[in-house]
């Protein structure tokens, strides 16, 4: 449905470097990346709002590269909603209608959409008097009312209060389900991608690092930057020999063979088991080692425990309730145990 082929954009101080990926019809695809990685630039290139230096953009098999934005049939919703401040809610929603052919059942569809997005009671309001969630619903209605082939979402949840974020997140999911529209969303939040998308591309500094199903990118990141991005915390340089990973003085057994190109191991903080050293549990197992708790950060239900061992700093996450049960506190010795099958090498 969307094919981005070797797209380069050169701007003063930033380059989008040979970006390629495909989004299938009716797919919900996300582009994940930190702020300033070029995510929005990709969206704006697809929409025709930023001229690309080289490469091609095809939509439904048609080459869109040289078409002006108004002839591409692509809707865009920005993080800040970009509602027209001088127009009422109704006029914002109906802004694009005059440019598209009038179908017989158009008015009916518009009122269905307005009802679906629960905007009936807001139609005469000024934009300035809307809440964040209401604004985002108006922006969605405005984009969808002209029935675009593709909907581009630029961090649609980031600027919202947590309760509105939840609401819009569910709305996006069900709207995608109901309309079958192809959605391309950029975000820096992996949890959003997990919840909404089937496939994702991770971008960093203007280059696509990895493309694949969300679950695969989550479990098997191919580089340290992707790993960091999907929430893997313990990333260490390692050498591999005889089924063992050697990180500094530490040797950890691995579950399977390793590609010779790999240079790192990484572990999710929730996959590491932690015991007070004094309980002596599981001692002398080859996949466990002793360390010192240097810091504990409380995050509510969960907490992060930082453990230093042989020059490596490990981050372990566990339910706060277990701190007491396991008798773990700052400054005490602990034993960490690393299940071989949870070690990801890359």
């Amino acid at each position: 449905m969307i094919a981005v082929e070797d797209v380069c954009v050169q701007l003063p101080g930033f380059t989008l470097d040979a970006v390629s990926f495909r989004v299938g019809a009716s797919e919900f695809f996300t582009i994940l990346g930190p702020t300033g990685s070029g995510k929005t630039l990709i969206l704006e290139s697809i929409a025709g709002l930023v001229p690309i230096t080289s490469g091609r953009i095809l939509i439904g098999g048609r080459d869109m590269t040289d078409l002006p934005p108004e002839r591409r049939g692509i809707g865009i919703v920005y993080q800040d909603q970009a509602l027209f401040p001088h127009l009422s809610v109704a006029r914002n929603i109906r802004y694009g209608l005059r440019y598209w052919p009038r179908a017989a059942d158009r008015e009916e569809k518009i009122s269905q959409l307005i009802q679906r997005l629960n905007l009936d009671h807001l139609l005469d309001r000024a934009i300035i008097n809307l809440s964040g969630g209401e604004r985002q619903r108006v922006a969605l209605a405005r984009a969808l009312v002209v029935a675009p082939e593709i909907l581009l979402l630029d961090e649609p949840l980031s600027a919202l209060d947590p309760n509105f974020r939840e609401e819009i997140r569910y709305l996006l999911k069900s709207l995608h389900h109901e309309t079958g529209i192809t959605v391309l969303m950029v975000t820096h939040d992996f949890a959003e991608a997990h919840f909404l998308a089937t496939r994702t591309a991770v971008i960093s500094a203007g280059r696509i690092e990895q493309v694949g199903p969300v679950v695969e990118v989550f479990n098997r990141p191919i580089s340290p930057s992707v790993a960091t991005f999907v929430g893997m915390k313990n990333i260490f340089e390692a050498r591999f020999e005889n089924g063992m990973a050697r990180a500094g003085p530490l040797a950890l057994p691995l579950a399977g063979p390793v590609d010779s190109a790999c240079r790192f191991i990484t572990l999710r903080p929730e996959d590491i088991r932690i015991y007070s050293a004094s309980t002596g549990a599981k001692e002398n197992a080859s996949n466990s080692f002793i360390g010192l708790v240097t810091r504990i950060d409380h995050q509510g239900i969960f907490c992060d425990v930082w453990v230093r061992s042989d020059g490596l700093l490990w981050q372990v996450m566990l339910p706060t309730s277990q701190l007491m049960e396991k008798n773990i506190a700052e400054g005490c010795e602990v034993r960490l145990q690393v299940p071989p099958e949870k070690i990801h090498v890359m």
């Binding site: 709002l49 934005p69 108004e70 865009i76 401040p85 802004y95």
Partner: protein, 261 residues
Amino acid sequence: MRRIDPFHTLAAVCTLLVVGFIVFPLLEMIRQPTAADLKASLADADVRQAIWLSISTSGTAALISFVFGTPFAYLLARRDFKGKRFIESVVDLPIMIPHPVIGIAILSLAGRQHWIGRVATDLGVRVMGSLTGIVIVLTFVGLPFYINTVKNGIEAIPRRLENVSRSLGATAFGTFRRVTLPLAWRSMIVGMILCMARAVSEFGAVVIVAYHPMTAPVMIYERFTAYGLRYSQPVAVWLIFVCLGLFLMLRWLNPAGRTRA
């Protein structure tokens, strides 16, 4: 008692001095002519003619700036291109050049010795001592104020609004008409006011290009040199009143409540 910071005291004293420095001479000028003087001066057809000439030529300069300056300001606000800095400095030149130099520069194009002047003369356009000449000079000095104001006004409108409009099907011009223009309207009014204010006050360039027909500043100068202060004051007071009234009216016309730039 609350201690007052010495710096704040200094700031307050300076504020009073500056406001007094601006307001006091103007107040005195308005206070000194008697009502009879003012009335007599208004009855003078030459005075009315000169004030009208000043207002109409400045207004024309503002309109010309609006027509030609708006797309230009849009380009400066929205596009990055090689030499943009240079173009921006060129726009500011008329602010920096001494006023009589502007007059001389315009005249050096207008005469028979230059091909532009010859073409203009053949077309029946006269610059020296004509309305056309006055409007050209006033547009020259007023344009930078219009362009810079409108450029800032357009820059303040998020580009994303225009992007969304394009994605919804509007062409570049349709987007300008339906999004940019309604949101930048206020800055255009302010730009025209500033342009006109600058143009009304122009003396140095006008007096070189056209001593006659006589604009109000030229008349004030002539009456001052020929007859003295008392004779020039009433004309100056009327010019101030007319300008104030005009600018208040433009402000009032500007629907500030409906457009938020």
